[in-house]
């Protein structure tokens, strides 16, 4: 599989756009979901994901091997940081970033037709609550939480994507999880069913 990917990357590096598009199809969901969880806004996430692939294509000559996925996600992460920095300079455009936009119920994979409507609603409510909690985390903690706990990546790959050490990844992950736990509990963002009992 990896050899096949390397072959496709080599073709793309020679300027074969269709070969590059195979890579896009392979990773677009992962890139988009990272952007969505970082930005909390479906439209902005789509724009950043598109910019990520364009930037990756133009800079493909600088890819020197290793995990292409990590390389791609690093470009996406940096692009998300750029958008978040721009939002800080123009705060009026950052309302969606708080996860308050009501698009949590849209854009998911098709729900199980046997799932009860109440369960669907609860799932969406839970997802919206977690997205709001994520939006309140510092960006460096948010990205490691997304890569580790949502996308299931290993520490070393997260370290490569975020250009940090393993120790930094562990530390940010620990602080991010604890902080998210506190946010979800303190703000009562979670549906009652999922709240922790106060000790």
């Amino acid at each position: 599989m990896l050899n096949e990917e390397e072959r496709i990357i080599e073709s793309a590096q020679r300027g074969d756009v269709e070969a590059f598009n195979q890579l896009v199809r392979l990773y677009e969901s992962r890139v988009y979901n990272l952007c969505y969880r970082m930005l909390g806004d479906a439209e902005a996430a789509a724009d950043v994901a598109q910019d990520t692939f364009i930037s990756a294509y133009r800079n493909l000559g600088r890819f020197r091997g290793g995990l292409f996925r990590s390389w791609l996600l690093r470009i996406a992460t940096n692009a998300c940081y750029d958008v978040l920095r721009a939002r800080k300079r123009r705060p009026s455009t950052s309302l969606d970033a708080l996860g308050t936009s009501d698009d949590e119920g849209r854009g998911f994979d098709l729900p199980d037709p046997h799932e009860h409507p109440d369960e669907v609603a609860l799932r969406h409510e839970l997802a919206a609550a977690i997205q709001q909690g994520l939006a309140q985390l510092p960006e460096d903690q948010r990205v490691v939480i997304i890569l580790s706990d949502i996308q299931g990546m290993a520490y070393d790959e997260i370290a490569a994507i975020t250009a940090t050490s393993l120790g930094t990844v562990k530390s940010r992950l620990s602080r991010g999880r604890a902080r998210l736990r506190d946010i979800l509990r303190a703000g009562e963002l979670l549906p009652a069913k999922f709240r922790h009992e106060d000790r």
Binding site: V24, R25, A46, F53, Y57, R58, D109, S148, L184, A186
Partner: protein, 262 residues
Amino acid sequence: MKTPQPQFSPLPEQDLELLSAYLDGQLEGPTRSDLERRLADDPRLRSELEELRSTTALLRELPTRTPPRSFTLDPAKVQPRRSGWALVWFGQLGSGLAGLMLVLLASLQMLGGMSGQMAAAPAPMMVQATAPALYEAAPVTTESAAAMMLPVEATALPEAAAGTMALPANSEPVTATESASVMTLPSEPMVNSDMARQTAPSDAEMAAGTMSMSESATPEVAMGKAAPAPAGVPPVVVLLLGLVLVGVAGASWVYTRTSGKF
């Protein structure tokens, strides 16, 4: 109405980090067994572990979102951009070289200015010597156009000089007036100077017309006499302009190198 208050973990950060790593199966050997022993003894630690486990479980259960559109690239839109990047690259190289040439010119002007106080002749000679190089390297700089004027002015026939003298009298020192003329040259000075270079030996009127563009040719210059000081804008301005061009080229290069963020 109940006001929710944040409840920050009472555990030290080191313990939280251990619990987080333990959750991910990242602890080994004595560190792991030591934590497991503490977990068995400390209900607060166990409770903290369970809360962190619940939090990570919630995150893992977040559904994957479907991208609203495909992000595949359109070959027709992507490939032509490569020539655009090549243009950017040539632009960076060109402005960098032009900047270096201006710095060199300014240095020569400064040297000429120093020696010009003792002997006036070398200054225009040096400008003349550097002008062709500038013409090749930086075809759009007005300074190079001004420098190109000097040989034309020096070879112009007396009639041409007389024609120029019919212009509003300008008896200011050459350095001041030429500086002003350079700053007010139109945006296509090379066309004029180039045309003048080609026609000056055979067409005195054309040469005179070119000279009249500068509005600054004193009889001394037109007659081929040396200017008392380095011609053109003050060397400091040329030097600064050169440094700015080099800086812009460098910054542009760095930006394009890092725009891939990798």
